[in-house]
Symmetry: C2
Subunit: 211 residues, 2 copies
Protein backbone atom coordinates (compact mmCIF):
# COMPACT_ATOMS: atom_id res chain seq x y z
CA UNK A 1 0.00 0.00 0.00
CA UNK A 2 1.29 3.41 -0.98
CA UNK A 3 1.79 6.33 1.32
CA UNK A 4 -1.63 7.91 1.80
CA UNK A 5 -0.36 10.85 3.79
CA UNK A 6 -1.32 14.30 2.58
CA UNK A 7 0.92 15.06 -0.35
CA UNK A 8 2.33 18.51 -0.85
CA UNK A 9 0.02 20.35 -3.23
CA UNK A 10 1.18 21.59 -6.56
CA UNK A 11 2.16 25.25 -6.89
CA UNK A 12 -0.49 26.22 -9.42
CA UNK A 13 -3.10 24.55 -7.24
CA UNK A 14 -2.35 26.66 -4.19
CA UNK A 15 -2.11 29.68 -6.46
CA UNK A 16 -5.56 29.11 -7.92
CA UNK A 17 -6.96 28.34 -4.51
CA UNK A 18 -5.77 31.68 -3.22
CA UNK A 19 -7.07 33.56 -6.24
CA UNK A 20 -10.47 31.93 -5.84
CA UNK A 21 -10.60 32.87 -2.19
CA UNK A 22 -9.66 36.45 -2.98
CA UNK A 23 -12.31 36.70 -5.68
CA UNK A 24 -14.87 35.19 -3.36
CA UNK A 25 -13.97 37.67 -0.63
CA UNK A 26 -14.48 40.63 -2.94
CA UNK A 27 -17.69 39.39 -4.53
CA UNK A 28 -19.27 38.13 -1.33
CA UNK A 29 -18.50 41.45 0.31
CA UNK A 30 -19.92 43.60 -2.46
CA UNK A 31 -22.70 41.44 -3.89
CA UNK A 32 -23.61 39.17 -1.01
CA UNK A 33 -23.68 35.42 -0.82
CA UNK A 34 -25.95 35.06 -3.80
CA UNK A 35 -23.33 35.67 -6.46
CA UNK A 36 -23.16 32.82 -8.94
CA UNK A 37 -20.12 30.67 -8.24
CA UNK A 38 -19.23 31.00 -11.90
CA UNK A 39 -18.80 34.72 -11.41
CA UNK A 40 -16.32 33.99 -8.67
CA UNK A 41 -14.56 31.61 -11.02
CA UNK A 42 -14.51 34.22 -13.79
CA UNK A 43 -13.03 36.86 -11.53
CA UNK A 44 -10.43 34.38 -10.34
CA UNK A 45 -9.68 33.58 -13.99
CA UNK A 46 -10.34 29.95 -13.34
CA UNK A 47 -12.60 27.34 -14.84
CA UNK A 48 -15.76 26.34 -13.00
CA UNK A 49 -14.46 22.83 -12.43
CA UNK A 50 -11.39 24.13 -10.67
CA UNK A 51 -13.52 26.11 -8.28
CA UNK A 52 -15.73 23.13 -7.52
CA UNK A 53 -12.67 20.93 -7.06
CA UNK A 54 -11.24 23.21 -4.40
CA UNK A 55 -14.55 24.11 -2.76
CA UNK A 56 -17.26 21.55 -3.41
CA UNK A 57 -20.00 23.70 -1.90
CA UNK A 58 -20.65 27.39 -1.53
CA UNK A 59 -20.78 26.86 2.19
CA UNK A 60 -17.19 25.64 2.32
CA UNK A 61 -16.02 28.47 0.12
CA UNK A 62 -17.82 31.03 2.25
CA UNK A 63 -16.46 29.80 5.55
CA UNK A 64 -12.92 29.78 4.22
CA UNK A 65 -13.32 33.16 2.59
CA UNK A 66 -14.65 34.72 5.78
CA UNK A 67 -11.98 33.31 8.06
CA UNK A 68 -10.19 36.64 8.09
CA UNK A 69 -13.34 38.59 8.93
CA UNK A 70 -13.98 36.14 11.70
CA UNK A 71 -10.53 36.85 13.10
CA UNK A 72 -11.30 40.56 12.97
CA UNK A 73 -14.48 39.81 14.86
CA UNK A 74 -12.49 38.10 17.58
CA UNK A 75 -10.07 40.97 17.77
CA UNK A 76 -12.94 43.40 18.16
CA UNK A 77 -14.57 41.55 21.04
CA UNK A 78 -11.23 40.94 22.74
CA UNK A 79 -10.56 44.63 22.51
CA UNK A 80 -13.95 45.31 24.02
CA UNK A 81 -13.33 42.88 26.83
CA UNK A 82 -10.02 44.52 27.57
CA UNK A 83 -11.62 47.92 28.12
CA UNK A 84 -11.72 48.78 31.84
CA UNK A 85 -15.18 50.28 31.33
CA UNK A 86 -17.41 47.38 30.23
CA UNK A 87 -20.13 49.65 28.88
CA UNK A 88 -17.66 51.55 26.76
CA UNK A 89 -16.21 48.25 25.59
CA UNK A 90 -19.69 47.00 24.79
CA UNK A 91 -20.45 50.12 22.77
CA UNK A 92 -17.23 49.90 20.83
CA UNK A 93 -17.96 46.28 20.00
CA UNK A 94 -21.37 47.20 18.64
CA UNK A 95 -19.98 50.06 16.62
CA UNK A 96 -17.15 48.07 15.14
CA UNK A 97 -19.20 44.97 14.49
CA UNK A 98 -21.84 47.03 12.73
CA UNK A 99 -19.23 48.70 10.60
CA UNK A 100 -17.54 45.40 9.83
CA UNK A 101 -20.81 43.88 8.79
CA UNK A 102 -21.86 46.91 6.79
CA UNK A 103 -18.67 46.71 4.79
CA UNK A 104 -19.19 43.06 4.02
CA UNK A 105 -22.70 42.20 3.00
CA UNK A 106 -21.92 38.52 2.68
CA UNK A 107 -20.25 38.15 6.03
CA UNK A 108 -23.36 39.07 7.94
CA UNK A 109 -25.38 36.56 5.97
CA UNK A 110 -22.79 33.94 6.81
CA UNK A 111 -22.55 35.03 10.41
CA UNK A 112 -26.26 34.79 11.11
CA UNK A 113 -26.76 31.71 9.01
CA UNK A 114 -27.00 28.09 9.95
CA UNK A 115 -24.18 26.35 8.19
CA UNK A 116 -24.89 22.72 9.00
CA UNK A 117 -21.40 21.51 8.18
CA UNK A 118 -19.04 24.35 8.99
CA UNK A 119 -18.24 23.23 12.50
CA UNK A 120 -15.27 25.43 13.24
CA UNK A 121 -16.89 28.49 11.71
CA UNK A 122 -19.87 28.08 14.01
CA UNK A 123 -17.57 27.39 16.93
CA UNK A 124 -15.70 30.60 16.22
CA UNK A 125 -18.91 32.54 15.98
CA UNK A 126 -20.27 31.11 19.18
CA UNK A 127 -17.03 31.88 20.95
CA UNK A 128 -17.35 35.51 19.89
CA UNK A 129 -20.96 35.58 21.00
CA UNK A 130 -20.05 34.06 24.36
CA UNK A 131 -17.44 36.72 24.83
CA UNK A 132 -19.95 39.43 24.02
CA UNK A 133 -22.37 37.90 26.50
CA UNK A 134 -19.67 38.04 29.14
CA UNK A 135 -18.99 41.66 28.29
CA UNK A 136 -22.69 42.41 28.42
CA UNK A 137 -22.91 40.84 31.85
CA UNK A 138 -20.18 43.11 33.15
CA UNK A 139 -21.83 46.12 31.51
CA UNK A 140 -25.08 45.27 33.24
CA UNK A 141 -23.26 45.18 36.57
CA UNK A 142 -22.17 48.75 36.07
CA UNK A 143 -25.81 49.66 35.59
CA UNK A 144 -25.25 51.25 32.22
CA UNK A 145 -26.62 48.41 30.12
CA UNK A 146 -30.29 47.67 30.56
CA UNK A 147 -30.78 44.53 32.62
CA UNK A 148 -33.22 42.91 30.23
CA UNK A 149 -30.69 42.86 27.42
CA UNK A 150 -30.30 39.38 25.94
CA UNK A 151 -27.68 38.05 23.58
CA UNK A 152 -30.41 37.44 21.04
CA UNK A 153 -30.90 41.19 20.91
CA UNK A 154 -27.47 41.44 19.41
CA UNK A 155 -28.34 38.88 16.74
CA UNK A 156 -31.49 40.83 16.13
CA UNK A 157 -29.44 43.96 15.59
CA UNK A 158 -27.04 42.21 13.25
CA UNK A 159 -29.89 40.93 11.13
CA UNK A 160 -31.47 44.34 11.19
CA UNK A 161 -28.21 46.01 10.25
CA UNK A 162 -27.99 43.64 7.33
CA UNK A 163 -31.33 44.84 6.03
CA UNK A 164 -30.04 48.35 5.51
CA UNK A 165 -29.49 49.31 1.88
CA UNK A 166 -27.57 52.42 0.96
CA UNK A 167 -26.61 54.10 -2.27
CA UNK A 168 -22.89 53.42 -2.06
CA UNK A 169 -20.37 51.58 0.05
CA UNK A 170 -19.57 54.79 1.89
CA UNK A 171 -23.24 55.54 2.49
CA UNK A 172 -23.69 51.99 3.66
CA UNK A 173 -21.08 52.44 6.35
CA UNK A 174 -22.48 55.82 7.30
CA UNK A 175 -25.98 54.42 7.62
CA UNK A 176 -24.72 51.57 9.76
CA UNK A 177 -22.86 54.00 11.94
CA UNK A 178 -26.00 55.96 12.62
CA UNK A 179 -27.90 52.74 13.17
CA UNK A 180 -25.29 51.56 15.67
CA UNK A 181 -25.57 54.82 17.58
CA UNK A 182 -29.34 54.41 17.78
CA UNK A 183 -28.96 50.82 18.88
CA UNK A 184 -26.60 51.81 21.65
CA UNK A 185 -29.14 54.37 22.75
CA UNK A 186 -31.73 51.62 22.83
CA UNK A 187 -29.54 49.36 24.94
CA UNK A 188 -28.57 52.02 27.44
CA UNK A 189 -30.25 51.65 30.78
CA UNK A 190 -32.56 54.52 31.55
CA UNK A 191 -34.88 55.61 34.30
CA UNK A 192 -38.35 54.16 34.17
CA UNK A 193 -38.09 52.37 30.88
CA UNK A 194 -40.93 50.15 29.81
CA UNK A 195 -40.26 46.42 29.84
CA UNK A 196 -39.34 44.94 26.48
CA UNK A 197 -41.59 42.50 24.67
CA UNK A 198 -40.43 38.88 24.93
CA UNK A 199 -37.55 37.53 22.89
CA UNK A 200 -38.45 35.60 19.75
CA UNK A 201 -36.76 32.56 18.28
CA UNK A 202 -34.70 33.95 15.45
CA UNK A 203 -34.05 31.85 12.37
CA UNK A 204 -30.55 31.46 11.10
CA UNK A 205 -31.13 30.71 7.48
CA UNK A 206 -28.71 30.87 4.66
CA UNK A 207 -30.06 32.79 1.70
CA UNK A 208 -29.80 31.00 -1.60
CA UNK A 209 -27.56 28.20 -0.48
CA UNK A 210 -29.39 24.97 -0.88
CA UNK A 211 -26.52 22.65 -1.27
Amino acid sequence: MTDHLSRIPRSDAVDNRERILEAARVLFATEGLNVPLREVARRAEVGPATLYRHFPTKEILATEAFAEQMRTCHAVVDEGLADPDPWRGFCSVIEKICELHSRDRGFTAAFVSAFPKAVDFIADRDYALKAIAELAGRAKDTGKLRPDFVLDDLILMLMANNGIQAASAAAQVAASRRFAALVIQAFRAGPAQAPLPPVARLALVMPGVTR
Copy 2:
Protein backbone atom coordinates in the same frame (compact mmCIF):
# COMPACT_ATOMS: atom_id res chain seq x y z
CA MET B 1 -64.49 56.25 -35.25
CA THR B 2 -65.79 53.70 -32.79
CA ASP B 3 -66.38 54.27 -29.15
CA HIS B 4 -63.02 53.93 -27.48
CA LEU B 5 -64.35 54.31 -23.98
CA SER B 6 -63.42 51.64 -21.46
CA ARG B 7 -65.69 48.69 -22.14
CA ILE B 8 -67.13 46.70 -19.29
CA PRO B 9 -64.82 43.76 -18.68
CA ARG B 10 -65.94 40.18 -19.02
CA SER B 11 -66.93 38.31 -15.88
CA ASP B 12 -64.27 35.61 -16.08
CA ALA B 13 -61.67 38.32 -16.61
CA VAL B 14 -62.47 40.16 -13.40
CA ASP B 15 -62.70 36.82 -11.62
CA ASN B 16 -59.24 35.76 -12.72
CA ARG B 17 -57.86 39.17 -11.99
CA GLU B 18 -59.09 38.95 -8.42
CA ARG B 19 -57.76 35.42 -7.94
CA ILE B 20 -54.36 36.47 -9.24
CA LEU B 21 -54.26 39.41 -6.85
CA GLU B 22 -55.23 37.20 -3.94
CA ALA B 23 -52.56 34.64 -4.82
CA ALA B 24 -50.00 37.40 -5.20
CA ARG B 25 -50.92 38.86 -1.83
CA VAL B 26 -50.42 35.53 -0.07
CA LEU B 27 -47.19 34.62 -1.83
CA PHE B 28 -45.62 38.06 -1.64
CA ALA B 29 -46.41 38.18 2.06
CA THR B 30 -44.97 34.79 2.89
CA GLU B 31 -42.18 34.40 0.36
CA GLY B 32 -41.28 37.95 -0.50
CA LEU B 33 -41.21 39.67 -3.85
CA ASN B 34 -38.92 37.11 -5.41
CA VAL B 35 -41.50 34.42 -5.97
CA PRO B 36 -41.65 33.35 -9.61
CA LEU B 37 -44.69 34.85 -11.29
CA ARG B 38 -45.56 31.40 -12.52
CA GLU B 39 -46.02 30.29 -8.95
CA VAL B 40 -48.51 33.07 -8.48
CA ALA B 41 -50.25 31.91 -11.64
CA ARG B 42 -50.29 28.31 -10.43
CA ARG B 43 -51.80 29.26 -7.09
CA ALA B 44 -54.40 31.36 -8.88
CA GLU B 45 -55.10 28.37 -11.15
CA VAL B 46 -54.43 30.48 -14.18
CA GLY B 47 -52.12 30.21 -17.14
CA PRO B 48 -48.97 32.34 -17.25
CA ALA B 49 -50.27 34.29 -20.22
CA THR B 50 -53.35 35.34 -18.32
CA LEU B 51 -51.25 36.69 -15.50
CA TYR B 52 -49.06 38.64 -17.89
CA ARG B 53 -52.10 39.96 -19.72
CA HIS B 54 -53.56 41.42 -16.55
CA PHE B 55 -50.28 42.54 -15.00
CA PRO B 56 -47.55 43.03 -17.60
CA THR B 57 -44.82 43.52 -15.00
CA LYS B 58 -44.20 42.31 -11.49
CA GLU B 59 -44.07 45.94 -10.45
CA ILE B 60 -47.66 46.54 -11.52
CA LEU B 61 -48.83 43.35 -9.86
CA ALA B 62 -47.05 44.25 -6.64
CA THR B 63 -48.43 47.76 -6.43
CA GLU B 64 -51.97 46.53 -7.01
CA ALA B 65 -51.58 43.65 -4.59
CA PHE B 66 -50.27 45.93 -1.87
CA ALA B 67 -52.95 48.55 -2.25
CA GLU B 68 -54.77 47.20 0.77
CA GLN B 69 -51.65 47.20 2.92
CA MET B 70 -51.03 50.73 1.83
CA ARG B 71 -54.50 51.69 2.99
CA THR B 72 -53.76 50.06 6.34
CA CYS B 73 -50.61 52.13 6.45
CA HIS B 74 -52.61 55.29 5.97
CA ALA B 75 -55.06 54.28 8.64
CA VAL B 76 -52.21 53.69 11.05
CA VAL B 77 -50.60 57.06 10.53
CA ASP B 78 -53.95 58.85 10.63
CA GLU B 79 -54.66 57.12 13.90
CA GLY B 80 -51.30 58.26 15.18
CA LEU B 81 -51.94 61.82 14.08
CA ALA B 82 -55.28 61.78 15.85
CA ASP B 83 -53.70 60.93 19.20
CA PRO B 84 -53.68 63.97 21.49
CA ASP B 85 -50.23 62.95 22.70
CA PRO B 86 -47.96 63.15 19.63
CA TRP B 87 -45.24 61.03 21.20
CA ARG B 88 -47.67 58.28 22.04
CA GLY B 89 -49.08 58.51 18.53
CA PHE B 90 -45.58 58.34 17.11
CA CYS B 91 -44.82 55.24 19.16
CA SER B 92 -48.01 53.52 18.13
CA VAL B 93 -47.25 54.24 14.49
CA ILE B 94 -43.83 52.65 14.83
CA GLU B 95 -45.21 49.63 16.61
CA LYS B 96 -48.01 49.08 14.15
CA ILE B 97 -45.92 49.74 11.08
CA CYS B 98 -43.29 47.32 12.31
CA GLU B 99 -45.88 44.67 12.91
CA LEU B 100 -47.53 45.30 9.57
CA HIS B 101 -44.22 44.99 7.80
CA SER B 102 -43.17 41.94 9.77
CA ARG B 103 -46.33 40.16 8.73
CA ASP B 104 -45.76 40.94 5.10
CA ARG B 105 -42.24 40.39 3.91
CA GLY B 106 -42.99 41.59 0.42
CA PHE B 107 -44.69 44.80 1.42
CA THR B 108 -41.61 46.18 3.09
CA ALA B 109 -39.56 45.42 0.02
CA ALA B 110 -42.12 47.24 -2.07
CA PHE B 111 -42.42 50.07 0.40
CA VAL B 112 -38.72 50.85 0.51
CA SER B 113 -38.18 50.21 -3.18
CA ALA B 114 -37.91 52.53 -6.10
CA PHE B 115 -40.70 51.62 -8.44
CA PRO B 116 -39.99 53.84 -11.39
CA LYS B 117 -43.46 53.58 -12.87
CA ALA B 118 -45.85 53.12 -9.98
CA VAL B 119 -46.68 56.78 -9.59
CA ASP B 120 -49.69 56.53 -7.32
CA PHE B 121 -48.04 53.90 -5.13
CA ILE B 122 -45.10 56.17 -4.54
CA ALA B 123 -47.44 59.09 -4.02
CA ASP B 124 -49.32 57.12 -1.38
CA ARG B 125 -46.11 56.15 0.32
CA ASP B 126 -44.79 59.67 0.33
CA TYR B 127 -48.07 60.93 1.72
CA ALA B 128 -47.76 58.49 4.60
CA LEU B 129 -44.16 59.51 5.15
CA LYS B 130 -45.10 63.18 5.13
CA ALA B 131 -47.75 62.51 7.71
CA ILE B 132 -45.25 60.70 9.89
CA ALA B 133 -42.86 63.61 9.52
CA GLU B 134 -45.62 65.94 10.68
CA LEU B 135 -46.29 63.70 13.64
CA ALA B 136 -42.60 63.55 14.43
CA GLY B 137 -42.43 67.32 14.39
CA ARG B 138 -45.19 67.55 16.95
CA ALA B 139 -43.56 64.85 19.05
CA LYS B 140 -40.32 66.81 19.02
CA ASP B 141 -42.18 69.87 20.25
CA THR B 142 -43.31 67.96 23.30
CA GLY B 143 -39.66 67.20 23.99
CA LYS B 144 -40.17 63.46 24.08
CA LEU B 145 -38.75 62.70 20.66
CA ARG B 146 -35.08 63.44 20.21
CA PRO B 147 -34.61 66.63 18.18
CA ASP B 148 -32.10 65.11 15.77
CA PHE B 149 -34.60 62.54 14.54
CA VAL B 150 -34.94 62.59 10.78
CA LEU B 151 -37.50 60.96 8.55
CA ASP B 152 -34.73 58.89 7.02
CA ASP B 153 -34.30 57.28 10.39
CA LEU B 154 -37.71 55.76 9.95
CA ILE B 155 -36.77 54.37 6.56
CA LEU B 156 -33.60 53.06 8.14
CA MET B 157 -35.69 51.38 10.75
CA LEU B 158 -38.02 49.83 8.20
CA MET B 159 -35.14 48.44 6.20
CA ALA B 160 -33.60 47.11 9.36
CA ASN B 161 -36.86 45.55 10.44
CA ASN B 162 -37.00 43.84 7.09
CA GLY B 163 -33.65 42.19 7.73
CA ILE B 164 -34.97 40.28 10.70
CA GLN B 165 -35.48 36.58 10.10
CA ALA B 166 -37.41 34.45 12.54
CA ALA B 167 -38.34 30.82 12.76
CA SER B 168 -42.05 31.25 12.15
CA ALA B 169 -44.59 33.90 11.29
CA ALA B 170 -45.45 34.27 14.96
CA ALA B 171 -41.81 34.54 15.95
CA GLN B 172 -41.33 37.06 13.18
CA VAL B 173 -43.99 39.31 14.64
CA ALA B 174 -42.64 38.82 18.14
CA ALA B 175 -39.13 39.72 17.04
CA SER B 176 -40.39 42.82 15.28
CA ARG B 177 -42.29 43.81 18.37
CA ARG B 178 -39.18 43.67 20.47
CA PHE B 179 -37.28 45.49 17.78
CA ALA B 180 -39.89 48.22 17.68
CA ALA B 181 -39.67 48.65 21.44
CA LEU B 182 -35.91 49.04 21.21
CA VAL B 183 -36.24 51.49 18.35
CA ILE B 184 -38.67 53.59 20.34
CA GLN B 185 -36.17 53.59 23.16
CA ALA B 186 -33.56 54.80 20.72
CA PHE B 187 -35.75 57.63 19.46
CA ARG B 188 -36.80 58.83 22.89
CA ALA B 189 -35.17 62.06 23.93
CA GLY B 190 -32.90 61.64 26.91
CA PRO B 191 -30.63 63.78 29.05
CA ALA B 192 -27.15 64.26 27.73
CA GLN B 193 -27.36 61.96 24.76
CA ALA B 194 -24.48 61.89 22.35
CA PRO B 195 -25.11 63.42 18.92
CA LEU B 196 -25.97 60.94 16.20
CA PRO B 197 -23.66 60.29 13.27
CA PRO B 198 -24.78 61.98 10.05
CA VAL B 199 -27.62 60.63 7.95
CA ALA B 200 -26.65 58.56 4.93
CA ARG B 201 -28.28 58.43 1.53
CA LEU B 202 -30.34 55.26 1.59
CA ALA B 203 -30.91 53.28 -1.55
CA LEU B 204 -34.41 52.27 -2.47
CA VAL B 205 -33.78 49.28 -4.64
CA MET B 206 -36.19 46.64 -5.69
CA PRO B 207 -34.81 43.15 -5.17
CA GLY B 208 -35.02 40.88 -8.15
CA VAL B 209 -37.27 43.02 -10.27
CA THR B 210 -35.41 44.07 -13.32
CA ARG B 211 -38.28 44.67 -15.62
